[in-house]
């Protein structure tokens, strides 16, 4: 099939960007979306033009590196699918495809389709962990975790940190991302000890690093390639409320540093 692409080209973070019209000819239905771009890039290079810069690595939908808005939808039209797992059989000959980077204040464009997502690392660094040192821990079966709790934790922990939820949100909120980590750890007995402190720190970090608030659009769930559900945001809110109530009752205030 032959396609017309409109691709966001931007030299650097402080340059003006624009949509560039490019041809993608002889595209096979078995190609992945990124392989289609590889082919376009090969032609560009041979013509002495700069290839389209885009993030990608594992190409099996788990590293979270790929990040493109395709025809207005982060990761493209297929549900529960990253760009790298989207295949060209879902497009047809003659289609026009618009390809843009994640757009959010917290994710400045680095070049073309590549953005800087280090703000997500900062949210995790603020408290998205269990404070355990290496060594000196109990036997793995010493603390039992009912299957349902382990499954809930896993549902939330499946987040690949790609940032599509933020790119899709009208408020550019990182609620789903943050909620997934808060919920994963809050579902486990090992994570309960720090649950109140964690939710306060992570929420604070989220607001601090340029992300907006949640106003229940649920666009995040719709585009999440791992199918993370918005009910985890409810869980986050619940954990946050609990932490707030506790902090007024006790002297041991879980402060957001």
């Amino acid at each position: 099939m032959n396609l017309t692409l409109f691709v966001w080209r931007q030299k650097g973070p402080h340059e003006q960007g624009r949509l560039e019209k490019l041809k993608a000819d002889n595209v096979s239905a078995d190609m992945s979306f990124l392989e289609m771009l590889d082919q376009v890039n090969e032609t560009l290079i041979k013509n002495g033009q700069e290839p389209i810069a885009f993030d990608h690595d594992c190409r099996e939908g788990i590293c979270g590196m790929c990040s493109q808005v395709i025809n207005g939808i982060p990761h493209g039209p297929l549900k529960n699918t990253t760009v790298c797992q989207l295949h060209m059989r879902h497009f047809k000959d003659g289609d026009s495809i618009y390809i843009e980077p994640w757009r959010a204040k917290a994710f400045p464009v680095v070049k073309d389709l590549i953005v800087d997502r280090s703000a997500l690392d900062l949210i995790i660094q603020s408290g998205g962990y269990i404070s355990v040192h290496t060594g000196g821990v109990p036997d793995a079966n010493a603390v039992l975790i009912p299957k349902d709790d382990a499954e809930t934790a896993m549902d939330a922990a499946a987040c690949i940190g790609c940032g599509a939820c933020i790119a899709a949100c009208p408020n550019r909120s990182a609620m789903l991302f943050t909620a997934a980590k808060v919920s994963h750890l809050a579902a486990l007995p090992q994570g309960r000890a720090e649950a109140a402190k964690r939710v306060c720190m992570m929420t604070e970090a989220m607001l601090h690093h340029g992300f907006g608030n949640c106003s229940n659009h649920y666009e995040c769930e719709a585009v999440c390639p791992k199918g993370i559900k918005v009910h985890f945001i409810a869980k986050l809110n619940r954990e946050f409320m609990k932490a707030q109530i506790m902090s007024t009752r006790t002297t041991n205030v879980p402060s957001a540093e």
């Binding site: 190409r59 690392d121 290496t134 793995a140 382990a150 896993m154 579902a187 486990l188």
Partner: protein, 635 residues
């Protein structure tokens, strides 16, 4: 130079304990004076950086990706082994040790493997404490499943995303140390050179992938945790960015490269669909717990698999290896699949069927979906086929490399102060790695081994001996600048990918799943020709002072073009078949690998001798005190 593996004395079971006792320590208040560089943030790198940070060292971690969480360990699917024996099915540290040595076809170092098996249990405890959501049963206990090369169920798993969950555990420990100020992360930064001063590793030179800036980082010790080199085959299950550059440049600075020809071809990957293909996707080995592998008994059978009746199917793994069946180890299963495909029995030309219909009948679709749902989804996305209805088509693909930089028992390379962890080293898997053992090794190295052994090294060296203004840093940066300028000035007609594809084809055809002296000699003729053409005819657009993905690929490609020659040289010298190294001249009458323990029971460690000169071979003899080499049989 004689290679001293520094294996401690005493019985196998006591070596690590005794060794720990003999290692020197660094006083807690002195630890922060030492700077340690950790290159790579996969399971080995992230766990090492986090643990060294916790201990109080001043750690800097580097990764090519935009976040340490994206290292390729994240893609490991099936699980992690440990000798917990929770299912009470006869497992023990000794059995895990023995299975691993046997699985590696008696080409690994016994003492290292025993230590690995011992530490396996600590890893599971540690990961659970970090909040890794391993699969549990309804009572809350941990579940296990089986992997190839074992007759016990010792594999712990988190759905089909075990690597992801373990890496996120290590990444969370790392993030905690970043906040504590003990670890600094350099994302989108690639190591370009190792800096050696007075014979010791004293730092690295990196390139900032966003600005193109080269920078020297001085340190008291360097840990390379940079993974494997399967991408030398172009098509592999590795991430696109996985490369040999860091390890190879360390090799050029004096670190010996061990057993480069030991590469693992994984039996269950989605077959190639066309020339556009950029990578191959693994379907976890765990699928062979419930899936049955077969081909038609008729050559060139074009029927749909659903139309081939039961009595016209050849379940060749169950037929050839009745006691292990579909869970034969990877090298064996891959070769068996290649054999039936070469014989013309392949499914639609290339590939064999992996069929779940029996398991679905026995356990129900729900149970299969619970176990492998995400893998079935991934398969459908890539192939457009529903594996609940028709069998998967699978074919072997390059997946893991057992070879790597030579290290002693302390994980220290032949360059003092340079430690190598995880897949980047050679030590634990011999000539073939068993499934679910890579995660175990990466984490054992990072969490439990390196913190002890690096202290022993540091305790004997004064901190901060060298700064990055040392002439060696300047010299290295000048050379790197020159090499980048040279690449950019060629302005030829072929892209980096075209060269990579061609190198991959040379390696797959002549140094892949089956090798011969003839094919390897052909490879050794073709590689230098391709390399010469690369340096004359590659085209890289853009400049070196910006984000330039073509330039990144070209630098890695240049190293693959040299490294591939070392790999073929090693394969040619090893006149035996063992594990993943199958030389067609050396096989049993029934087609199984024929080892030659009298001559080749050693680690081949290659020393770089300078440009245009061949490498020099050093041998570390392997001595087996407990697991006596026998003919490996899974029949």
């Amino acid at each position: 130079m004689t290679l001293d593996a520094k294996i401690p004395g005493g019985p196998l079971q006591e070596k690590w304990g005794r060794h720990l006792h003999s290692l020197k320590l660094v006083n807690p208040s002195n630890k922060r004076k030492y700077r340690i560089l950790v290159v790579g943030t996969g399971l080995a790198g992230a766990s090492a950086a986090a643990t060294l940070g916790e201990l109080g060292y001043n750690v800097e971690a580097f990764c090519c990706q935009d976040s340490p969480r994206r290292a390729h360990s994240i893609a490991a699917q099936g699980g992690i082994n440990a000798a917990k024996n929770y299912p009470n099915d006869g497992d023990s540290i000794h059995r895990l040790f023995y299975d691993t040595v046997k699985g590696g076809d008696f080409r690994s170092r016994e003492a290292n493997v025993y230590r690995l098996a011992t530490l396996s249990n600590n890893i599971i405890d540690q990961c659970v404490a970090q909040g890794v959501p391993f699969a549990r049963d309804y009572a809350g206990y941990l579940e296990n499943r089986s992997f190839g090369g074992a007759q016990v169920s010792r594999t712990f798993f988190a759905r089909g995303q075990t690597g992801q969950q373990l890496l996120l555990g290590a990444y969370s420990a790392l993030s905690r140390q970043v906040k504590a100020g003990t670890v600094k992360i350099h994302p989108r930064t690639e190591m370009f050179d190792l800096v050696v001063v007075d014979g010791e590793a004293k730092g690295i030179v990196t390139r900032d992938l966003v600005t193109g800036r080269l920078q020297g980082h001085a340190a008291d010790a360097v840990c390379l945790c940079t993974g494997g080199y399967s991408n030398v085959f172009y098509l592999s299950t590795n991430a696109m960015g996985a490369n040999v550059t860091a390890a190879f440049r360390a090799y050029k600075k004096g670190a010996f490269f061990a057993n480069p020809c030991f590469t693992q071809i994984h039996p269950t990957c989605i077959p190639v669909s066309g020339d556009h293909q950029s990578k191959l996707t693994l379907m976890s080995e765990s699928l062979r717990n419930d899936g049955r592998v077969w081909v038609s008994r008729t050559k060139g059978d074009r029927r749909s698999p659903l139309d081939i009746p039961e009595d016209e199917r050849d379940y060749f793994l169950e037929r050839k290896y009745p006691s292990y069946g579909n869970l034969a180890p990877r090298d064996i299963a891959s070769r068996a699949a290649k054999e039936v495909c070469d014989g013309g029995f392949g499914a639609g030309g290339q590939g064999v069927y992996l069929d779940f219909s029996d398991a679905i009948r026995r356990l129900g679709r729900q149970k299969i979906s619970e176990r492998y749902g995400n893998l079935f989804e991934m398969y459908e996305k890539i192939t457009g086929e529903d594996a609940y209805v028709q069998p998967m088509r699978i074919y072997p693909a390059p997946h893991y490399t057992m070879g790597g930089l030579w290290v002693d028992y302390n994980l220290e390379s032949t360059v003092p102060g340079l430690f190598v962890l995880g897949e980047a080293n050679f030590s634990d898997h011999g000539a073939n790695r068993l499934g679910a053992s890579a995660l175990m090794q990466g984490l054992a190295d990072g969490y439990f081994i390196i913190p002890n052994t690096i202290a022993h090294f540091l305790a004997q060296t004064a901190p901060g001996k060298v700064s990055n203004s040392h002439p060696e840093f300047r010299k290295s940066m000048e050379e790197l600048h020159a090499s980048i300028d040279r690449l950019l000035s060629i302005n030829g007609r072929r892209t980096v990918n075209e060269f990579h594809r061609e190198l991959g084809k040379i390696m797959w055809d002549h140094a892949g799943m089956a090798r011969s002296a003839d094919s390897l000699q052909t490879a050794l003729k073709l590689i230098p020709e391709l390399r010469a053409e690369f340096w004359k005819n590659v085209r890289i657009t853009g400049s070196g002072t910006e984000l330039n993905q073509e330039l990144e690929k070209a630098g890695r490609m240049a190293d693959f073009l040299e490294f591939s020659e070392l790999m073929a040289t090693d394969a040619l010298h090893r006149n035996e078949s063992c594990g993943g190294h199958f030389r067609v001249e050396y096989q049993m009458p029934d087609g199984e690998a024929k080892r030659n323990d009298d001559v080749f029971c050693y680690v081949a460690a290659w020393e770089y001798k300078g440009p245009g000169k061949g490498p020099e071979l050093h041998r570390e003899q392997l001595v087996f005190e407990s697991a006596h080499p026998e003919t490996r049989s899974y029949k």
